[in-house]
């Protein structure tokens, strides 16, 4: 034991150790620290991945940027913590991160048993299928008897089995341990189709030699609503995260963008705009933030549509008419009013 304690004290001396006990609220912690600790994946194109300058970018990372802008007034005041799927919830409940924005599906069991609270959705995903355009398939029903490349050990495998059994279809799964493997399998002709979440399929398609050779089938066989997650037991912080996301969506509805936000704040006749941008009512104060919280988030990060366009459109996931479009345009992205 002496050796271990020697080792431990040695390492403690090396200066990398404890970061102090806290009984403060998450908001106080973040404000005292001057930075938001945000859990991301770090390796998913369009969601969170380092850009050339070393900064984490993507729709997941942008949510954290917006929260930091709302809380601290600076969208750059974010420390991104790369997390694997297995450790993401522990990192959140143990207080290593303030918010988890890591393409995490909202399910009952996660919400009820993990000590976490789901806020709202920044991307609504679902499992789909991709096939070669040349095969001329129109529906998953045409895949009877097909071999299908799938990443093993994921829920996609189970969803596919359920769906095919329900529809009395035959298929042969071809398993790979990585998504890169499934792509190589599809391109190499090891299977007729590939299945994964639609966003993942789009990313895979953009990585193929000829993206235009592949097409997605219309069926989406599972619901994967993805969004930021917070620790249970800090309602104020949950409100802040939820309403920051709502503010971005409301801004898009009202036509407030990062470029016109100053003009809108100065002379928009619309009282809803004034309320969001801190003109009329004290929306910020109700959350414990400054009154330009939403203004900062929109100004520095952009509204939901701008974020989507910058990070997800380049993957080839069209937004128009999809579930991720605004409710006013046929999608289901909807935000309660800010007032």
């Amino acid at each position: 034991m002496k050796k271990i304690s020697l080792l431990l004290s040695g390492i403690t001396l090396m200066g990398l150790a404890f970061t102090g006990v806290s009984t403060a609220t998450t908001l106080e912690d973040v404000q005292a620290r001057g930075e938001l600790r945000c859990g991301v994946d770090g390796g998913v194109a369009g969601f969170s991945a380092p850009n050339n300058a070393g900064r984490m970018v993507g729709i997941d990372a942008s949510i954290c940027d917006a929260i930091a802008a709302a809380v601290l007034g600076d969208s750059n005041a974010v420390v991104y913590v790369s997390l694997t799927a297995a450790e993401r919830f522990t990192a959140l409940t143990a207080g290593e991160i303030d918010v988890l924005s890591r393409n995490t599906t909202h399910t009952l069991s996660r919400d009820a048993t993990l000590g976490t609270n789901f806020t709202y959705y920044n991307f609504i995903d679902g499992q789909g299928f991709m096939v070669a355009k040349a095969d001329g398939l129109a529906s998953v029903k045409d895949l009877d008897g097909a071999s299908i490349c799938v990443q093993t050990g994921t829920t996609t495998e189970v969803n596919m089995a359920d769906y095919f059994r329900n529809n009395n279809l035959d298929y042969t799964p071809v398993g790979y341990s990585t998504s890169v493997g499934t792509r190589e399998g599809l391109e190499g002709g090891a299977c007729d189709a590939i299945t994964s979440d639609a966003s993942q399929l789009a990313a895979i398609r953009s990585e193929t030699a000829n993206p235009s050779d592949w097409t997605m089938l219309p069926e989406i066989i599972s619901k994967e609503p993805l969004g930021p997650v917070v620790r249970q037991g800090d309602d104020q912080w949950m409100d802040i995260v939820t309403w920051t996301l709502h503010a971005l969506i409301n801004a898009e509805e009202l036509g407030i963008t990062s470029s016109n936000v100053d003009a809108m704040r100065a002379d928009s006749p619309n009282p809803s705009v004034a309320r969001i941008l801190g003109g009329e009512s004290e929306t910020g104060a109700m959350l414990g933030l400054s009154n330009d919280w939403a203004y900062n988030a929109i100004k520095q990060v952009g509204n939901y549509g701008e974020i989507y366009e910058a990070h997800v459109e380049p993957l080839g996931i069209a937004r128009a008419g999809s579930v991720n479009d605004l409710w006013t345009r046929g999608g289901i992205i909807y935000s309660p009013p800010i007032r």
Binding site: L7, G15, L16, G20, A45, A49, P50, S82, G95
Partner: protein
Amino acid sequence: MASNTIKFEKLPDRLPPSNTVGWMAWVKTNLFGSISNTLITLLVFYLIFLYIPPFIEWAFINANFSGSDRSVCDENKAGACWTFVKVRFDQLLFGLYFATNPDQMWRPIIAFIGFFGLLIPLMIDKTPHKKWLLITLLTIFPVFFLLIVRGGVFGIPDSDPSQWGGLLLTFTLAFVGIILALPLGILLALGRRSKMPVVKSFSIIYIEFWRGTPLITILFMASVMLPLFFPSGVEFDKVVRAMIGITLFQSAYTAEAVRGGLQAIDKGQSEASMALGMGYWQQTIFIILPQALKISIPSIVNTFIALFKDTSLVSIIGLLDLLKIAQNSSRSLDWNGYDIEAYMFAGIVFWIFCFGMSMYSQRLEKKLDTDRRE
């Protein structure tokens, strides 16, 4: 008067038969000596012909080096996209914190220069004052490294170790693992051979426990389970947790490598030193260990090389070591699809350092080889 004696003169040596010298002969005996050899040679040549020229074409001749974004590579998909590695070089070496703060990049650069500045002279035979260089490397350098790379003192901005990455993190983990595991391992090896029951059983339990657990499990426990035992908000840094896990694990392996050396030492050595009146520590330090360590160099270095490569397992706890950051970089919108280049780069860097360690250990063995072997 002319002498009539017969003179025997040595004729000049005749050359060996032409079919046993020169490259032709070498080729004939080594590559086409028998039917099976001939077949294997032809097969290997065929495989080389099949794979090497396209590879060289891809990696060098058609490769893209210019530009600063993916458009160059997208236009020329026949060649490797080294532009990616060029643009992301600072990330791959130092991780995201230093890549996002280019004005702080001098810190890891100085640390690297310091590290190699101390290490390379140590590997050259003629360097004077080696002992002091080694002591500096093992004591002053780690403190210097922390001050300059970690920062937070003397006006140097604080860099969060969990934001370190790339080669910097790989090196840090491997270096800490190696320098802490060696002394611990030696103590454990001695402990396992000790006659004191408590020390002996502790050493055995320790070694067998850590050796019987996969490193991935240890890292996972350190990352996922450990925080659950601390109150919320109290946390060891992730990097420190990984260092502790790696050191605990590595010391068990080093201990077994050292024990192999200890067991090879003849009992006469310790008996002789006892006869000279030496105590246990004198015996161990001056007689047994120098011989035992010399014998165990290959296996110790073997475990160190394995450790250096094993550091890439920290990606499962979300640390961006060289391999993981290469992977993540190739998954960004800027470069997705260029993962082969990322893996090639990481592979080459790993190979350079592992091969370097292996070469050095071979030199060390030769230098220390005092056995009068036949």
